[in-house]
């Protein structure tokens, strides 16, 4: 269990993290979402004591990170896969990390095997791709077999197979009862992987909930009807308060009415329906709606032209 309370971090006059508080429960993957510059990475650095917060505290099973005796056994963190010396080999990188926490050398070979880097363990890291460095970073996370895992954008640079692999790994770790907090911009991946969400914007908490309730709350909901005589239904739907959009020939999207109401109207008119379904927007739609106005950087040009 991770408990963050009242975390505040300033860089000069800019408040990067603003009295942020949330909890991360064990047994599920928790996604940590926010627009660029919203303070996700700063929050993670503050949680690990790497950045010095002005106020607040992060507790790992009730203990501040600073007070953990052998932190790699408690918390595995990967903040940036680029934090390696390019002249060292993967094995030597893991050796100094493992030795600092009294982890046996045999464990290094185990984690290298787990992440699929055994065959290149002796190669210098300057020859590693970003995807390989991500795998090495995950090996470092797993070294101490920690019960809490914190990852900042772990899928960056991974190919589709790698993305699926990391999703499976994190889901597996969470199912083992570990606490897993993952930040990512890949919302489709997050939708597949996470059960809980912590969403922040401009350093403040926007929402903490399950993925389902977040999408339910922020995403658009509508009813889709497909019928050879769909146009005959438009007038009665509008009269009943529905907002009707014709999206294709014989296909209507109706907002403001639910499936039951639309189905009953169709039945009254003895219409043949090819489709009557409840539609919900994606996690991406919900995220964009929830964080509207909380973006640090917004574009107004190219996409609209």
């Amino acid at each position: 269990m991770i408990s963050v309370s009242d975390l505040t971090k300033r860089f000069g006059s800019k408040i990067a993290v603003d009295h942020l508080g949330f909890e991360v429960r064990p047994g599920v993957v928790t996604g940590f979402l926010g627009p660029n510059g919203s303070g996700k990475s700063t929050t993670m650095r503050c949680m690990l004591g790497l950045d010095r917060p002005e106020a607040g505290v992060a507790l790992f099973d009730g203990t501040p990170y600073h007070d953990l005796k052998r932190p790699l056994h408690e918390v595995g963190a990967l903040l940036d896969a680029g934090y390696v010396h390019p002249g060292r080999s993967a094995r030597n990188h893991l050796r100094w990390l493992a030795t600092s926490n009294g982890i046996a050398r045999s464990r290094i070979d185990e984690v290298l095997e787990m992440v699929g880097l055994t065959s290149v363990a002796g190669s210098r890291l300057r020859s590693y791709s970003l995807g390989m460095r991500q795998r090495l970073g995950l090996a470092g996370v797993l070294l101490g077999d920690p019960h809490t895992i914190i990852l900042d954008e772990p899928a960056n640079g991974l190919d589709p197979e790698g993305i699926r692999w990391i999703r499976d790994v994190l889901t597996h770790l969470a199912r083992q009862g570990r606490t897993v907090l993952v930040s990512s911009h890949q919302l489709s991946e997050m939708a597949l992987m996470a059960e809980d969400l912590v969403v922040i914007g401009q350093g403040r908490l926007i929402e903490q909930s399950t993925v389902d309730s977040f999408v339910d709350r922020y995403a658009d909901h509508w009813v889709r009807v497909q019928s050879p005589t769909a146009e005959t239904l438009v007038a009665s739907l509008t009269t009943a308060g529905g907002e009707v959009t014709t999206v294709a020939a014989n296909t209507l999207d109706i907002r403001g009415l639910d499936c039951v109401a639309v189905g009953e109207m169709a039945a009254q008119q003895q219409m043949v329906l090819h489709e009557l379904s409840a539609q919900t927007g994606s996690l991406e739609d919900a995220f964009l709606k929830a964080t509207a106005g909380a973006q640090e950087y917004t574009s107004t040009g190219l996409a609209a032209q």
């Binding site: 650095r45 690990l48 004591g49 790497l50 950045d51 010095r52 990170y65 600073h66 007070d67 953990l68 932190p71 790699l72 963190a77 903040l79 940036d80 680029g82 934090y83 390696v84 010396h85 390019p86 002249g87 060292r88 080999s89 030597n92 050796r95 100094w96 990390l97 030795t99 600092s100 926490n101 009294g102 470092g140």
Partner: protein, 253 residues
């Protein structure tokens, strides 16, 4: 702490640049000393004092290179970002700073000890074989100067480490480490001499004081003794490390 020392030793010895610098630091004084012993050993005037002077004089360069190794041992951590996993693995930062300092100072001191031992043993044998009379008891300051080489190297490493902690930048730390003793202290010493009217004030410049540790000639310039000047430089080097530790502990990693 033992685990931390071992971890820092792995870091130090798994970077090729450290080995390159260490080899240069060892090879430069040895090559110059042994060539001098070989080519000047048959000169009638070549004495024990000359051999020891060449050996200790050239090791000042080696000590500077060891300072560079020490500075880079911490600045490269900031440069490549490995300081973050380091502090994540050991949240008590002072422990890391102490462990890294101990490892780098011990390693460079060992290098200096090797240089002095090999340089003296091989140099004296070569010079003797060329006809020179080499006897350590001829020069009472020879042993203190050779011990001074090891102490100077340790302190120079400590100072370099301190600059590294303070600046977090390899180019800046190395530039200061070279410019301060070789240029800045001369200029400041000359300026202070003019202002104070004391021609001898330059001996109190920290690195100049440190270099007095390796002087073979009797120190008769009215300046501090070998032990006092070495202690003074040591205090300055420790102060740099203390200031750097305070800064690293206080700042974001």
């Amino acid at each position: 702490m033992i685990n931390l020392l071992r971890s820092e030793w792995i870091k130090l010895r798994t970077v090729t640049m450290n080995w390159v610098l260490a080899i240069i630091a060892v090879a430069f004084p040895l090559v110059v000393t042994l060539l001098t012993a070989f080519f000047s050993g048959d000169d009638a005037g070549f004495k024990t004092r000359d051999l020891v002077s060449v050996l200790t004089g050239t090791t000042v360069v080696a000590a500077l290179l060891c300072g560079v190794i020490a500075a880079a041992s911490i600045t490269s951590e900031f440069g490549f970002g490995t300081i973050r996993p380091t502090f994540a693995a050991t949240p008590k930062r002072v422990k890391v700073i102490v462990a890294k300092g101990v490892v780098v100072v011990l390693a460079t001191s060992l290098l200096a000890t090797l240089v002095v031992l090999i340089g003296w043993l091989a140099g004296s044998n070569i010079a003797s074989s060329r006809g020179a009379t080499i006897d350590l008891t001829d020069v009472p300051t020879a042993v203190p100067a050779m011990v001074g080489v090891v102490v100077l190297t340790a302190l120079m490493s400590l100072a370099g480490y301190g600059f590294g902690l303070i600046t977090r930048s390899t180019p800046v730390a190395v530039s200061i480490l070279i410019v301060w003793p070789l240029i800045a202290e001369g200029l400041v010493g000359a300026l202070l001499s003019v202002v104070t009217g004391n021609d001898n004030i330059g001996v109190w410049m920290p690195f100049q004081a440190g270099i007095r540790l390796v002087l073979v000639e009797s120190i008769g310039d009215g300046g501090p003794s070998r032990i006092v000047s070495g202690g003074y430089f040591g205090v300055v080097a420790l102060a740099l490390v203390a200031l750097g530790s305070w800064a690293v502990n206080r700042r974001d990693a």
